[in-house]
């Protein structure tokens, strides 16, 4: 056989090499022995090389027995497997055996059928994104590459995606729809609307005869019976369910006056979530002018309805609790607010009473009595309407007011003046003088006494020596 130029193959070998997808392939007439036939050697090319793709032979190897180390053999296998398009990017169906998670988060399992098994690994990055839990005996379809694992002399499948078998095509379609709608911004957090804290009316879209409606009505009635419940019945599974959900949402929107919509169904075995993953239903949720809360009871991680809704709850019961406040809690808050109000009023009265002595406008008792009368009236009406802590504060405020009234009658300005005190006023507006600061020498002050007033001129100012 004459020398074969590098990169060309004999007819059968060439077909095999092309079939295996190998980049370079060189035939050697006697396996394991390099012959000149395979090398472009000659007098002018003493150092010609033969590159087999996994080992380079030189002309010195001619006629020698080729002995590979285990690592070299493994390297050759890795090369052949790694460059073979029939062993890369495969979809393999099988049953899961011995699934376990490594400390690094890698997922290990065996894929088996009646006749063979292959060890599989899914690296942590992909394993974290896996939408379901891998379980013993589960039928799955795995996408991955075959790899030779040298340290253990085995081959294994490096899994990129795992899908429950049977659901495969459907699941793939769902993932694709999610990606498409996601790109449109339908699931964007920025598109989510806040829920009203105290909804005036609650819309419910679910089956009229399902347990979900009974649960929702029970919770709504228990927590916040003030909000009327408007039920727009819809089919939640089977033929026409998605259309029915769209129509119900539109009906509620047209009726108006509904502050929030609960959309859902109960969970349980044999659940059919197709309607909640249907494109038209998902779009209708986003297009609904009223905030929508999804409450689809299910085992899987998500439905597209959950992702598109303004908020999601795991069950209809939880959804109902999410859309309305709890009457008991709100009641408590209301009573606390009333108590704070009564306390504020109480403090205002105490403050006012403290200032009474210094206020020139209270020199005559008439406005004070009016104020007191008004205060008593307000407080006593209020007291009958308030409960608990608020009423107690009010009682204290009233007692305080009464006490201040009595005190004022006894020691109000007129009585004080009779006892020998005087009040100094300055300026045309007769402001009471409470400090020496700002008093000018020669300034005129008016001094009030019990039976009249005296006009005086300032002849000296001395700070108090303490």
């Amino acid at each position: 056989m004459g020398p074969a130029p590098e990169g060309t193959f004999g007819p059968p070998t060439e077909r095999l090499a092309a079939c295996l997808g190998l980049r370079h392939f060189h035939s050697t007439p006697t396996p394991g022995v390099i012959t000149t036939g395979a090398l472009p050697t000659g007098p002018g090319k003493p150092l010609a090389r033969l590159d087999t793709g996994f080992r380079t032979y030189t002309s010195e190897d001619v006629g020698a027995r080729v002995v590979l180390s285990v690592a070299e053999l493994t390297e050759q296998l890795r090369f052949i497997v790694g460059h073979n398009r029939f062993l890369q990017g495969l979809w393999i169906r099988g049953e899961v055996a011995d699934p376990s998670a490594g400390p690094s988060g890698n997922l290990y399992f065996t894929l088996a059928d009646d006749e063979a098994r292959i060890h599989c690994v899914m690296f942590a990055r992909q394993a974290r994104a896996l939408a379901f839990r891998l379980e013993e005996g589960q039928e799955v379809v795995v996408e991955g590459d075959v790899e030779v694992y040298g340290p253990r002399g085995t081959y294994e499948l490096v899994a990129k995606t795992i899908e429950p078998s049977g659901l495969g095509a459907q699941y793939l379609a769902l993932i694709q729809l999610r990606a498409r709608l996601g790109a449109e911004g339908i699931f964007s957090p920025g598109a989510k609307r806040p829920l009203p804290p105290f909804p005036t009316a609650v819309g419910v879209v679910t089956s009229e005869h399902g347990a979900a409606l009974a649960d929702v009505l029970l919770v709504l009635g228990d927590r916040w019976p003030m909000a009327p419940v408007i039920v727009a019945p819809a089919r939640v599974q089977g033929e026409g369910a998605a259309d029915s959900i769209v129509a119900a949402l539109e009906l509620l929107a047209r009726r108006g006056g509904v502050a929030v919509v609960l959309l859902g169904r109960g969970g349980g075995s044999g659940e059919d979530l197709v309607a909640f993953n249907d494109e038209i239903a998902v779009r209708a949720i986003r297009a609904c002018p009223i905030p929508v809360v999804s409450c689809v009871g299910h085992e899987v991680d998500w439905t597209l309805a959950d992702l598109a809704a303004d908020a999601r709850a795991p069950t209809p019961t939880a959804g109902a609790a999410l859309v309305v406040p709890d009457r008991a809690e709100v009641s408590l808050h209301l009573h606390r607010t009333a108590a704070a109000m009564a306390e504020g009023m109480h403090r205002s009265l105490i403050g006012a009473a403290g200032n009474l002595g210094g206020q020139a406008k209270l020199l005559t008792t008439a406005p004070l009595e009016e104020l007191l009368a008004h205060g008593r009236g307000t407080l006593s009406t209020a007291r009958t309407g308030l409960e608990g802590g608020a009423a107690a504060w009010l009682r204290m405020a009233m007692e305080h007011l009464e006490a201040q009234g009595a005190l004022l009658e006894a020691s109000g300005p007129p009585a004080t003046l009779v006892r020998g005190y005087a009040i100094a006023l300055r300026g045309a507006d007769r402001r009471p003088v409470v400090s020496i600061s700002g008093i000018d020498l020669g300034e005129e002050l008016t001094v009030l006494l019990a039976d009249g007033e005296v006009t005086c001129r300032v002849v000296g100012v001395r700070p108090q020596v303490t």
Binding site: P196, P197, F198, T200, A201, E208, L213, A214, L217, L218, G221, D222, W224, P225, M226, P228, V229, I230, V231, A232, P233, A247, A248, L251, L252, R254, R255, R327, V330, S331, L334, T337, A338, A340, M341, A342, E343, G344, M345, R347, S348, L349, G351, A352, L371, H374, G375, T378, T381, A382, G385, L386, E387, A390
Partner: protein, 95 residues
């Protein structure tokens, strides 16, 4: 007695009344009001409190079903038959 010049709480929703009540309480507890202003704020606050309190107490369960007919949208009582307790009791059409 409510004085003239302010919204009657009767027209307010629960949420509006509660928010208004909270602003009155804030004004009162900030302590910057005169006694007259404080009394007025307090009086209004009590009205609002009663309004909210009445709304919380006087709730009557109303459940209606939307039905689309040739005449448009109608609301009819929800027929759930003898079912779970509390879900078929005090129900009636929303006026």
């Amino acid at each position: 007695m409510p004085r003239g010049g302010r919204a009657a709480p009767g027209d307010l929703s629960f949420e509006e009344a509660l928010v208004l009540l909270e602003t009155k309480v804030q004004a009162l507890t900030a302590g910057r009001l005169t006694v007259e202003e404080a009394l007025e704020a307090f009086e209004e606050g009590v009205e609002l409190y009663r309004h909210c309190s009445a709304k919380l107490r006087g709730a009557e369960r109303r459940v209606a079903k939307l039905v689309e007919t040739l005449k448009g949208i109608e609301e009819v009582p929800l027929d759930r038959g003898p079912g779970r307790e509390g879900s078929s009791g005090a129900q009636g059409a929303v006026p």
